[in-house]
Amino acid sequence: MSAVEGIHPGLNLAHPHAEAQAETETALFGFWVFLMSDAVIFALLFATYGVMLHATVGGPTPSGVYEIGPALLETVILLTSSFTFGLASIAMKHGAPRRRLLGWLGVTLALGLAFLVLEVRDFLTMFAQGATPMRSGYLSSFFALVPLHGLHVAAGCLWLAVMMVQVVVFGIDERVRINVLRLGLFWHFLDIVWIGLFSVVYLQGLIR
């Protein structure tokens, strides 16, 4: 391991400026704390979903509205976008030309948008079947949990776009670097939440 002990993983070792490193560590730790508070929100929505899963009130049921194909496709897309973000992080860390960083960020953004398009299509299909959140407690809990994740992904996509602009405008300066690292934490975190989502919501609903 060539990484120096005590330095947060992901820092660019080509610029071992002690104060900047301390600032980066602080900024990243703070973002981890924010992610943990976000995790509690998601956890409670999962719990609410578990409690309301059977409140279908004679309306649409999970096995009636979930489809395994789209769920798998969305999962693979989001997972791949996590991988491509990792490649972007490596490009930034090792001083690759800006184009490579922008390229991988762009691919990640495209995959994120694809995920969102598919998810919105899923929701519209559900609405067409009468599976709206106003129909039952179960559907309310579905439409709080899954779209909240989707909103986070949308925010992440906006953030990706802004970062790409900032890389062009400022190059990879300290602020851009810290923000890309934070976005990375955010993006990977969202994929972890998605693991929970496809397991507890889609797969549980489709088990026969």
Partner: protein, 695 residues
């Protein structure tokens, strides 16, 4: 009835939403009080604007206060919010006490709907807009100084938290002028707060005010925790931190993990009300019991958020005014951490009667009794700190003594409530109301007032008036006992909480005593402001520029009063607990720096006030269904955040020469001052320089 004036622009607003119009239509005492309150807000707001304009101080306010990222000024602004909101909520309490005393087999003078708004705003304000800002302000001011830091970890986030809180408090005040407030209590239980039973703007005001405030609090918790983990000065190990920092750390951890359940509960209620979801409705699969579960997952840790900072203050104050090292530091740390963790394991005791099995109630009842133990440990530690110390009865110490005795009484009633079968008898009676006020007033409020008297000289450079401080203290203690002890009797006698009228004549004498107590508490509030006024008037004779008026041990006392913007000219290195005391004993209290360095401070930013205003505007739009306003507000908020991320000029350099100038001016004060003993601590001889016998 109340036709919307112009739905496309003003949403569901109609003329009857103004209390002045309502009072005109129906000039009952109740409506006139409401109109009067609304009028006060309008008049007060206008008066402030006119005064500032007339004095020509907008520029000063904008530069020095509204756009500052300085944790000290942010802390002061939090406490100002707390004092303003304390005034409103205390008056509301007096109104309720007067109503209950008057309405015994009689209608009283406050109508039922108005009364319901009063108990809802009283609780919501006291918790979210008095207590939370007060303790957040105290931690903000003191903690970075105590750990030898120049500011918190995220100064801009700190400002954003403040302004979100201010915006939410503003929303609460606006609800007095436009519309009405919720009648569902400070916890807003559905299905009563659902559209079916409360279609009006009230619950929406409550939801958005609480949501804005809770976002601010979560971010503050994050900020404080990261500051304590990452910004301690060299040598300041965790086990050398002052107890106030330990309680700040545990409070911060609670904030981070306890606010999310509140956000979820209010968000789901909002989804029900705005989009017709069915989380907590009576029909179509709603589960309103989950609301109680979610709100108390927040609500229980919340009360520990309220009390832990006060415990921290007591540790500081009792040690300083006993001239003795805090007894049992390690046990206090362990007790604090135990309270923090256990606070997540007891929430069901707030709804023992909701219907779950006796076994579940038993588990949580036992956990609730267990959580009393670490607090007991702390009480013993404080008593042992005073034992064989040289106790001085300063105002702060008086509050601490009153706390120790009165809070323990309240704790005992808490143990009564922890037994499910006993709780079944007194749940939602005045017994419960007496219990939690018994914890919050002698616990939290006395702690904040003790801290206020203790650290005011540090913040403003002069001491508070002792005489008026004692008078106010006397009123707070006498008022508390008179107002709340009768409530235990009434609750045990079966009087339900939140009652606008009473039909049991036996309750009369107790309600009268409680009413008198409320008036004494009003005097306590007034004398608190008198103390401030007199102190400002007499400030020349109470100046303590050297900065150590109480001969205390924390790093905050080793710098001037008021401190320079950057706190420390040179970041200190710490050798032990009570680091300033250690240096004083070694004869090294004010070491002269070899060299002054330039210091980079965060530059001012309008992001904080912008987000506060935009958050409040968005919330207002949502309350009144002015969708265009809500959309604009949200879009502008996002744009503000993105725009801020493009700013590169984040720092302002304070030149070394300036640092040196400020430091040398302070050292002249040190040379001029005479070191004083504790006997003359309360006299003008006290310039903030302590006489310490060398070890």
């Amino acid at each position: 009835m109340n036709a919307p004036l112009w739905p496309a622009v003003f949403g569901r607003f109609g003329w009857m939403d103004l209390p002045f119009v309502r009072a005109w239509q129906d000039p009952s005492v109740s409506e006139i009080i409401g109109a009067g309150a609304g009028g006060l807000v309008v008049f007060g707001g206008l008066a402030v604007v006119v005064l500032v304009t007339w004095l020509g101080r907008w520029g000063y306010l904008w530069r020095e206060w509204f756009t500052t990222l300085d944790h000290k000024k942010i802390g002061v602004m939090y406490v100002v919010i707390a004092f303003v909101m304390l005034s409103r909520a205390l008056v509301e309490a007096v109104l309720m006490r007067m109503q209950q005393a008057a309405a015994i087999n009689a209608p009283g003078f406050v109508a039922p709907d108005h009364f319901a708004q009063l108990f809802t705003t009283h609780g919501s304000i006291m918790i979210f807009f008095m207590a939370m800002p007060f303790l957040t302000g105290a931690i903000n001011y003191v903690m970075p100084l105590q750990i030898g830091a120049r500011d918190v970890a995220f100064p801009l986030l700190n400002a954003v938290s403040l302004w979100l809180t201010a915006g939410a408090a503003g929303l609460m005040m606006v609800s007095l002028v436009i519309g009405r407030f919720s009648t569902g209590g400070w916890t807003g239980y559905p299905p009563y707060t659902e559209l079916a039973f409360s279609p009006d703007v009230g619950p929406d005001y409550w939801i958005w005010a609480v949501t804005l405030g809770s976002i601010g609090t979560t971010l503050s918790g994050l900020n404080f925790a990261v500051t304590i983990y990452k910004k301690r000065c060299p040598g300041m190990d965790l086990m050398r931190m002052p107890m106030f920092c330990w309680t700040s750390l545990c409070t911060a951890i609670l904030m981070i993990f306890a606010m999310p359940p509140l956000t979820v509960a209010t968000a789901l209620l909002a989804l029900d009300r705005y989009l017709g979801f069915h989380f907590f409705t009576n029909d179509l699969g709603g589960n309103m019991m989950n609301y109680a579960n979610l709100i108390w997952l927040f609500g229980h840790p919340e009360v520990y958020i309220l009390i832990l900072p006060a415990f921290g203050v007591y540790s500081e104050v009792i040690s300083t005014f006993s001239s003795k090292e805090l007894y049992g530091y390690t046990s206090l740390v362990i007790a604090t951490m135990a309270i923090a963790v256990l606070s997540f394991t007891v929430w069901v005791h707030h709804f023992f009667t909701m219907g779950q099995s006796a076994n579940i109630n038993a588990v949580f009842g036992i956990a609730t009794m267990a959580i009393g133990l670490p607090t007991g440990v702390k009480i013993y530690d404080w008593i042992w700190t005073m034992f064989r110390g040289r106790v001085r009865f300063s105002v702060s110490m008086l509050y601490s003594l009153a706390f120790m005795m009165t809070f323990v009484l309240g704790g005992l009633t808490g143990i009564v409530l922890a037994f499910p079968p006993l709780d079944y008898l007194v749940h939602n009676t005045l017994f419960l109301v007496a219990h939690f006020h018994n914890m919050l007033i002698p616990g939290l409020l006395y702690g904040m007032l003790a801290g206020y008297n203790y650290w005011f000289p540090k913040a403003f450079g002069f001491r508070l008036d002792e005489t008026w401080g004692r008078i106010s203290f006397g009123c707070w203690v006498a008022g508390f006992y008179l107002a709340f002890m009768p409530l235990y009797v009434l609750g045990a006698g079966g009087m339900t909480r939140r009652s606008q009228a009473v039909f049991e004549p036996a309750f009369r004498p107790w309600l009268y005593i409680a009413g008198i107590g409320a008036l004494v508490l009003l005097c306590a509030l007034v004398t608190l402001f008198v103390q401030l006024w007199v102190s400002i008037r007499n400030r020349e004779s109470t100046r303590v520029p050297v900065g150590d008026p109480w001969n205390a041990g924390g790093l905050e006392w080793s710098i001037p009063a008021p401190p320079p913007e950057y706190n420390f000219a040179v970041i200190p290195t710490v050798r032990d607990r009570d680091p300033f005391y250690v240096e004083k004993e070694a004869g090294n209290a004010y070491p002269r720096p070899k060299r002054y360095e330039p210091i980079a401070m965060p530059a001012n930013s309008m992001t904080g006030p912008a987000l506060g205003v935009l958050g409040a505007v968005t919330a207002f739009g949502l309350v009144w269904h002015m969708w265009w306003l809500a959309g604009l507000g949200l879009a502008a908020s996002i744009a503000t955040i993105i725009a801020r991320s493009f700013v590169r000029d984040l720092y302002r350099i304070v030149p070394a020469a300036e640092v040196g100038r400020i430091d040398r001016r302070w050292r002249k004060e040190i040379d001029r001052a005479k070191p004083i003993g504790r006997a003359v601590e309360g006299t003008p001889a006290n310039r903030g320089l302590a006489e310490v016998e060398a070890a």
